[in-house]
Each structure stands twice: as C-alpha cells, then as structure tokens.
Subunit: 144 residues, 4 copies
C-alpha cells in the first residue's frame, strides 16, 4: 500500500480543510507504515493538575487517524469518524508536546481502522492508546 | 443512591475546577437517575461541513460523565477518565446546542461507568453514544 | 421503522443460520423499540467463582445485536460484526438466565449501531453494557 | 518489569483455574515484551461462512490479556475483565489456528491495559484488534 499524499502536501491540505486547528498540530513523519503527529504544548489543552486534557488527546488521536487514512485514499475522498475507543493510561506532562504514533490496521472500501499510541515527548511509556474507525463514503461521480 | 451535590452547587464547583470551560457548558437537569448537560453552539466547535466537531462532542460526553459521577461521590473525591468508547452516528446540526443525557450504570469503590447519549437540541435521534469509565482513587487521609 | 421479521420467524431463521447455538438462546420479546434475548444458564458458560464467563456474555450481546439489526433489514441481507465495546460491571449469578435488552440506535445504509444491556434475570442493575457495530454489505443483485 | 510466572508454569496454572478451556489454547511464547497465545482450529468455533466466530476470537483475546497480566502480578492475585473494545477487521481462515499477540501497555496498582492483535496463522495482516482492561483487586490479607 503506497501513500498518495506525502508529508508536505498533507500539511498544506490539513491547513485548508481544518483552518481552526492551524498551529496546534504538525506532521513529524509520514510513510506507509507510520504517521507521527505532534500536538504542541499549549495552555488551552491543560486541565487541573497541570496535565493535558482528555479532549485534547482525543483531538490529536482523531486528527492522526484522519491523516493516516487520507494519505492512502487521496484528497478527493471523504472520511468521517464513526468510532473511537481510547484508554487514558498515564498523566501526560504539561510542558511537553504530545506525539501520536498512528498505524492503519485496515483499509477497506468503506472503513479504515487505525491504531494510535500517544506519548509525552521523551517518555518511553504511552500516555494513551486509541483505536479509531473512519467511514469512507463512496465518492460522488464527477461529470466532466 | 442519592446525589450529594445538587444542580446549583455543581455548577459553581465546575466553574472552580474547570475555569477554562466556563461558558461552554451548563447543567440543565440533575437528579439520581439522569443528568442533562448542554453544550452551547459556538463557532469554535465547528468543523468543515458546518457540523460540531468530534473533539467537542467527546468533551461534552466527558464532562457529563464527570458531573454524573461526582454528584454521587462528593467534591472531596477525585475522578479521572480511564476509558471512553464513542460512536458517532449522525451529523449534529451546527446551529443547535448539543444535549448530553448521562446515566451512571455502575458506581463502584474504584470505578464508575456512565452511559451518555448526545442529541442536537430538538432532534429525536441521538448524534452520538458514549460509554465512559472514571477511576475514583481512594481519598488521601487529611491530617488536621 | 417497522420490523420485517417477527419473533417466531426470527427464531426459526436463527436456528437455520446458527445451528450450533440452538438451545442456548431464545427470543423473549421483539418489536421495533426493544429486543429481549435470553441466554439459558448452563454449566458450559461458567468460569471459576461460579459466574457466567465473559465470552458467553459477549456471545449473547453479539447475537442480540445481530437479531435486533436483522429484524429491520430482512433475511436476504448480510450483517457482520465490525466492533464491540463491552463493560463488565457486576458479577452475574451462575444459576440465573442472562437477559439482553437490545436497542438499535442507528440503522444506516452500511452500518448499524446497537446498545445492549445485560441483566441476570430478576436483578435490577445491569451486569454488562455493550455497544456493537454491524456492517451491512450492499446486497448482491440476484438474476432471475 | 520482570515476569513472575514463566511459560510452563503458566500453562499448568491455566489448566488448574480454567479446566473447561483445556485443549483449546496453548502458550507459544511468553516474555516481558510479548505473549503469543494459540487457539486451535476446531469446529466448535466456526460460524456460517466457514469462519472463526466472534465469541471465539473474543475468548482468545480475553485469555491472552489475562495471561499477559497474570505473568507480572503473580498467581496469588485476582484479575477480572472490566472492559474490552474489539475491532473485527478481516475474515479468519477456518482451518488455521488463530494467534494472539498480547502486550501489556499499562500495569497499575488497580488496572492493567493490554493490546491484543489476532492473526490467522501464516497471514501477515491481523484479523482483529482488541484492547482489554483488567481490574486487579487488592489482595486479601492472609492470616497464618
């Protein structure tokens, strides 16, 4: 399975389709086996106890699974989250970026399943583990 | 099982512990059987296609499960999300508030499990369904 | 949404397609709002501690979600489990039947999502809570 | 983190505590990084379409997560499944054994989280992916 969209092109594409998340995330690495996505540490993500909030970690896992799927299906396609299971296992460090390691486990005609591990940068053990399903609706026929 | 914290007191408590979410959520109803929590429609929550984003719906489900748990265990306790499974089933309407209906299915000594259905206000069918587990660590003994 | 297959017809259909589970399950109730499915107490389901095993409860939740979906889509269709999230909350009683209360939350063209609560017969509080996704592949065209 | 119970001792322990599953499962490999557990192909596990049933795959994932947890906590401890999220991604082959690759992602005082990938023997791509949480209740004090 080869990627249809590389790292730079995907970064530009994300800024176009999700302008509201601009500046929050960056793609560190992207190939057919692994996507590494970075969420910059930022006060907005914090919750009491000086840790990264659950919704921010969910947002990172969701964007990572989206990018990992889209790089295979191409920019013309749609992909909509239909399910996420996420385990929060350790407290992330507030002043560290969070890195998502995403692997597409299945890419079917209608569904993708992506495994995502989240790490506080520099920590060996994951802070969270997620599995996300994206629905990939059949593309509309475009008349020329 | 009786609630230890009522609707008004819980609203004040939430503003204290989560000042960053002030103005985003409100408690519509709170008794031992059901919590109804409202997320105000707001441009920040939107994503392409003019719909409420997945992370915003996750945030609402998470806060609702937290409040539904805390009203039974009391303000001295801690409660930390350890798991969430969420199914996104329908597209929420962008200009409608989203309502969470949360029911605590289990309240054990160490864990709570809460079922949450999310609705666009005025729609009969749910937009999402979540199950959240909160870990309730044993309280630290406070020396006087 | 009206059921296409009633209780008796569904019972016969299940025996045809899953002969290996004959005698384990029965349909107590089936209408458009709720399916109640019974798993008979049986030594095979037991595990140490004299309780019903996790895999047996999973099997009941899975069959209940299948029946709840099939009664709307009809016997010609296929339906394949793609996801299950299940929380085990209380110890079931070994000598009681387990009842599944299943509600279809979404029935789309390609996917159904079903909420299932499991009870030991006669107990008020659920022993487990599951959410299952079934994929409903497009039907093959049948030539006449 | 070192294992307290090795492969042979764990095999004997499993036969003692779960006599009803004797002959269904075997431990292929066990060290601190990975457990590989085998489910023998068997007509009992089959479902229509000549594939391994969902409940059988759930049972394998559950036993694998149990063994992967117990090898660290020791035989005196208890461990009870509290949650499983499982994605069924591909059809297993009926006449092949199914192998579970289990890794403990977190081992806390009260909870473990284990990631499990299931493969039909000889196939490169996983047939299912699961995440299981085990609750590890505090050990009863034994008076001598």
């Amino acid at each position: 399975m080869k990627v249809k969209i590389g790292k730079e092109e995907m970064g530009t594409f994300l800024e176009e389709v999700f302008p509201q998340i601009d500046g929050m995330f960056a793609i560190d690495h992207l190939d057919e086996d692994l996507l590494v996505m970075r969420m910059f540490s930022d006060e907005k993500h914090l919750r009491p106890g000086n840790t990264v909030s659950g919704p921010s970690m969910f947002a990172l896992a969701d964007v990572a699974a989206y990018v990992a799927t889209m790089c295979f299906v191409g920019k013309e396609a749609l992909a909509v989250t239909t399910h996420c299971s996420i385990d929060f296992m350790r407290k992330p460090e507030a002043d560290k970026d969070v890195l998502a390691h995403a692997k597409v486990l299945k890419l079917g005609k209608a569904l993708s399943v992506t495994d995502v591990l989240l790490f506080s940068e520099g920590m060996e053990k994951p802070v969270a583990h997620a599995s996300l399903t994206y629905s990939i609706p059949p593309m509309k026929q475009v008349a020329n």
